[in-house]
């Protein structure tokens, strides 16, 4: 059978138009995370690399902050659509009437902690007296300050760099650490867990949920479907990451190398496991429960912020948080 040329041409045009329409429907958005690539962001990276975003119809560009730029400010400045951030930061912004919305609270458990070496003679927080404690600034200092107040201690606090060298060589007695990162770096510097004394803020009623996904109010208002698609694909990414850890680590390590991160696979494995702990805290392993901002956690953070006079009023929970993942 011989097909006539005009007919072929017609089908070609149809095909091209369809493709163009489909392409247009794939929305290009950007997500900025707080730091360079590491397992802390494995879910997003995996969702991107495994094509979960694309499959869901969103073209996500993941941006990594180098610490000098603020992802939240990038969102507020409308340069990007989504970012990750700590609850304490965003409650402050919200209380300043910034149109920021939490649309998915992933990490349920605070990983921030204080660590001391047993050899420095520290057993309890009361032993911090006359000891040098190092803290990161900003949002990282809220829990320690609250902790010191609760413990009624006033140790000498000095600013902390991003490295733990001061603690390792004994210049600093107590250091702040993220359980998923610095804590393990201490272990990877040859100090055993039983040589350390750890103070997890969650154990002192200071559970400040950390990484959540934020966007502007208008983003959710204008494109709720896109937001839900993005969140669902993200959760799918995390689910995949925890189920396929070694593959995830392959992907994460590839990113780390690209960004010249000074890290290693076992550290990233620790981080992935620690993130999983933080993410499944209170909400079990069921991904259907993931992304919920617990009301009591919200008020724990907000009240502490109020207490430390970092905010004047507590924003309404309902206005601050939209459970996109579980909306119907």
């Amino acid at each position: 059978m011989k097909i006539k040329k005009p007919i072929i041409l017609f089908f070609c045009i149809i095909l091209l138009c369809t493709h163009a329409l489909l392409s247009q429907s794939e929305k290009s958005i950007s997500l900025m995370v707080q730091w360079f690539p590491q397992a802390q962001f494995a879910g997003y990276i995996v969702a991107h690399e495994k094509g979960f975003y694309n499959e869901a119809g969103v073209d996500v560009t993941i941006l990594f902050s180098d610490g000098t730029d603020s992802p939240l400010q990038e969102v507020l400045d409308k340069r990007i659509e989504f970012c990750t951030g700590w609850l304490s930061q965003t409650i402050k912004l919200r209380s300043e009437n910034k149109p920021i919305l939490n649309i998915c609270q992933l990490l349920q458990k605070s990983s921030l902690m204080l660590v001391a070496k047993k050899e420095s003679g520290i057993e309890t927080a009361q032993d911090f007296k006359n000891k040098i404690v190092s803290n990161w600034g900003g949002d990282f200092s809220i829990q320690p300050i609250a902790f010191f107040q609760k413990q009624n201690i006033q140790p000498e606090v000095i600013p902390q760099s991003f490295r733990i060298d001061g603690f390792l060589v004994g210049a600093i007695d107590v250091t702040s650490a993220m359980y998923y990162n610095e804590y393990h770096k201490i272990l990877q510097a040859g100090i055993d867990e039983d040589e350390l004394v750890s103070f997890f803020f969650t154990d002192y009623d200071l559970n400040f949920p950390e990484d959540g996904i934020y966007c502007r109010e208008e983003t959710l208002q204008n494109e709720p479907e896109m937001c839900k698609t993005f969140i669902d694909a993200t959760i799918k990414g995390w689910e995949y990451a925890f189920q396929n850890k070694e593959e995830t680590l392959d992907i994460v390590m590839k990113y780390c190398r690209e960004y010249h991160m000074q890290t290693n696979r076992s550290h990233q494995r620790w981080m992935l496991n620690a993130i999983e702990i933080a993410m499944t805290y209170k909400v079990e392993d069921d991904p259907n429960n993931w992304g919920i901002l617990q009301k009591d956690d919200y008020y724990t953070v907000a009240e502490e912020l109020l207490h430390q006079k970092l905010i004047n009023t507590i924003p309404l929970y309902k206005e601050f948080y939209k459970d996109v993942a579980h909306e119907r």
Partner: protein, 639 residues
């Protein structure tokens, strides 16, 4: 003469090899096994010591390098402490001088505490190498250095501090490590003096260090690799991260020792190869880092084994040489012995003219050869002497033989002597001993009726006895004449024999003159055994005589004469002492009793038969033990 081949069942060479070679071989096998196990350990220990030394050496070299950098920084700190605060220009000049003096220093900074330098909030001049020139810059333009570890840690510690290496993002983008020396003025902290070392140079240097077929690495005090042949490990992995990733808690323990500044050698599973390897580590004290070498166990064992193998090869060659030496020695011993054996065989065949020559040395073998040669010589002479002696003896023996022949020829040999005479029968038999003895008998007719019968035994043996007997016999023939009484004849003979008898020889002799018609006889006896008269019925009587002394002793002796009568059928038995003194091998004497018994039992037999029986009985009794002549003479009256 050619040596004949001697077949030996168990040759000495084989024996020596078995006795010496085999124990030696066993000892060697034990020694070799011992060497393999013990010497292996020993070689391993030596190897460990060597690696230990080598690693220490490299660590000290590195330490020296770091020390020079830290000294430079200390120099700057000291200068600020000593003098009044230098101007910015002076400070830059001082640092640039230090920089130019030491190419290992990449850059130097003098960072002051806020308001410590001329009331300035922050002040930190920095000089650094850029291509071929030294540039200066103010760090305050880049960042707040007071929050930096290199500033804060020495300030807090109050001591100098080698910081963890980092990628210098601000200028050269190279891996650097910074030494910080806190500065004090009037006991008050005023800032730090720093010196940076480029680890890119270190990497180049480290790449040139070869320790066997292994690799080296350096870890910092946190265990982080700042040099490793796998570039990806550098700054990313620590010895502890590898221990964790490889699930090797032992490696973590090793790492803890390393960062504690310990020195050691241990085995572990190399993470990169998965092979059992040796880890030798030594601290770099100035910066609290640790230098280590990793050598695969198989490489070490290869070296160790080749050392052991060399020893074993030398031993095997030694063993071979010793076995050859034994063989050589054995042949050296057995060859002369073989020649001696052939020699001895020839000697046994009578060849005494040969002499062994060509065996050198002064050992026992040589002495044996000498002894052999002397023995042959002596034997030869002895044999020739013996031959001569034998010849002499043979000549004497032939004389004796002649004497015996003479003696035998003197005795009557034809029996019966008088076949025509019917009145009597006479038989005699002489059984001679080996030597010539002096027995003799004789009988001769004096007239038709009378016969003289003589039996005698000369004293002594040999020729002299034979000659004395011949003389006596001739004499008796001469003196016995018809009509002369036997005693007179005996006296005459005695007188002649006594004369000139210097040898003092004598003879016993019985003489009877018998009347063949009447059976009557006259007799005289010169010390001889008395005759026996035997009747036909077996009864007998001994003829009692006057036992006068033997002839040749006393020339004046008067001999007595007696008479006797033989009835028809009676036999007179004359005999010499050889009969009664015949001795058995058991030294029993034949004796009169046995003689009389055998005579009595055979009285009815003919004279020849009787003689045969007696001879047979005597032979049976004395076997080959006859010492003396035995002579028996039988006379029977027939009518």
């Amino acid at each position: 003469m050619k040596d004949e081949k001697v077949k030996v069942k168990r040759p000495l060479v084989r024996k020596l090899l078995l006795w010496i070679g085999l124990p030696l071989l066993l000892v060697y096998i034990i020694v070799i096994l011992f060497t393999y196990f013990w010497s292996g350990d020993n070689a391993l220990r030596q190897m460990k010591e060597y690696l230990f030394e080598l690693t220490s050496h490299h660590a000290s070299m590195l330490d020296g390098k770091f020390l020079k950098v830290s000294r430079a920084s200390m120099g700057v700190a000291d200068a600020i402490d000593e003098f009044s605060m230098p101007t910015k220009k002076e400070l830059n000049a001082l640092m640039k001088k230090k920089l130019s003096e030491n190419r290992d220093i990449y850059g130097m900074a003098t960072a002051f505490e806020p308001f410590a330098y001329n009331k300035m909030k922050l002040f930190s001049p920095y000089v650094y190498h850029s291509d071929n020139e030294i540039l200066d810059v103010d760090l305050t333009l880049s960042y707040d250095y007071t929050l930096q570890d290199w500033f804060m840690i020495p300030k807090l510690l109050g001591t100098s501090y080698w910081g963890e290496p980092y990628f210098d993002e601000s200028s050269a983008k190279i891996l650097m490590a910074t030494y910080s020396q806190p500065m004090y003025k009037n006991g008050k902290f005023i800032g730090v003096s720093t010196a940076d070392i480029s680890l890119d140079d270190l990497e180049r240097e480290m790449n040139n260090i070869r320790i066997m077929a292994g690799h080296t690495f350096i870890i910092t005090r946190t265990g982080t690799f700042i040099y490793h042949p796998i570039k990806e490990y550098m700054m990313n992995e620590s010895i502890f991260s590898l221990a964790e990733e490889d699930d090797q808690p032992e490696l973590r323990e090793i790492g803890k020792k390393m960062i504690a500044g310990e020195q050691g050698i241990t085995t572990f599973r190399d993470v990169t190869t998965g092979e059992k390897s040796w880890l030798v580590y030594s601290p770099i004290p100035d910066c609290d880092w640790s230098f280590a070498a990793v050598i695969p166990d198989k490489e070490i064992m290869k070296t160790v084994n080749s050392m052991v193998l060399k020893q074993i090869i030398i031993m095997v060659i030694g063993l071979f040489i010793i076995l050859l030496a034994i063989l050589w020695a054995a042949i050296g011993i057995t060859n002369p012995i073989k020649r001696l054996l052939g020699f001895a065989n020839r000697i046994s065949k009578g060849d005494l003219d040969e002499k062994i020559t060509g065996i050198r040395g002064h050992d026992e073998i040589h002495e044996l050869v000498k002894a052999f040669n002397k023995m042959t010589y002596d034997l030869k002479h002895y044999i020739s002497d013996l031959t001569a002696a034998t010849k002499a003896k043979e000549s004497v023996e032939s004389e004796l033989r002649i004497a015996r022949q003479i003696q035998e020829s003197l005795l009557p040999r034809i029996f019966p002597p008088f076949p025509d005479v019917e009145e009597f029968d006479l038989y005699a038999r002489n059984i001679p001993a080996k030597e010539v003895a002096g027995d003799f008998f004789d009988f001769f007719m004096l007239d038709d009726d009378h016969i003289a019968i003589i039996i005698a035994d000369v004293s002594g043996k040999g020729i002299s006895a034979g000659l004395f007997m011949a003389v006596t016999r001739t004499l008796m023939k001469t003196v016995c004449v018809q009509g002369v009484p036997p005693a007179d004849a005996m006296e005459k003979a005695n007188i002649v024999l006594c004369q000139d008898n210097d040898a003092c020889m004598f003879t016993t002799l019985f003489l009877a003159i018998y009347n063949i018609r009447t059976g009557h006889m006259h007799w005289t006896n010169a010390g001889h055994d008395e005759p026996i008269i035997l009747s036909e019925d077996g009864s007998y009587r001994i003829l009692k005589t006057f036992k006068d002394i033997a002839l040749g002793i006393n020339e004046f002796h008067k001999y007595h004469e007696g008479e006797a009568q033989l009835e028809i059928g009676d036999k007179m038995v004359l005999y010499t002492d050889g009969v009664l003194e015949a001795t058995s091998p058991e030294q029993e004497l034949y004796g009169e009793k046995r003689f009389l018994k055998i005579l009595s039992e055979n009285a009815d037999k003919t004279l020849v038969e009787m003689l045969d029986v007696i001879t047979e009985d005597l032979d049976g009794f004395q076997k080959d033990n006859q010492f003396d002549d035995i002579t028996i003479l039988l006379l029977k009256r027939e009518k």
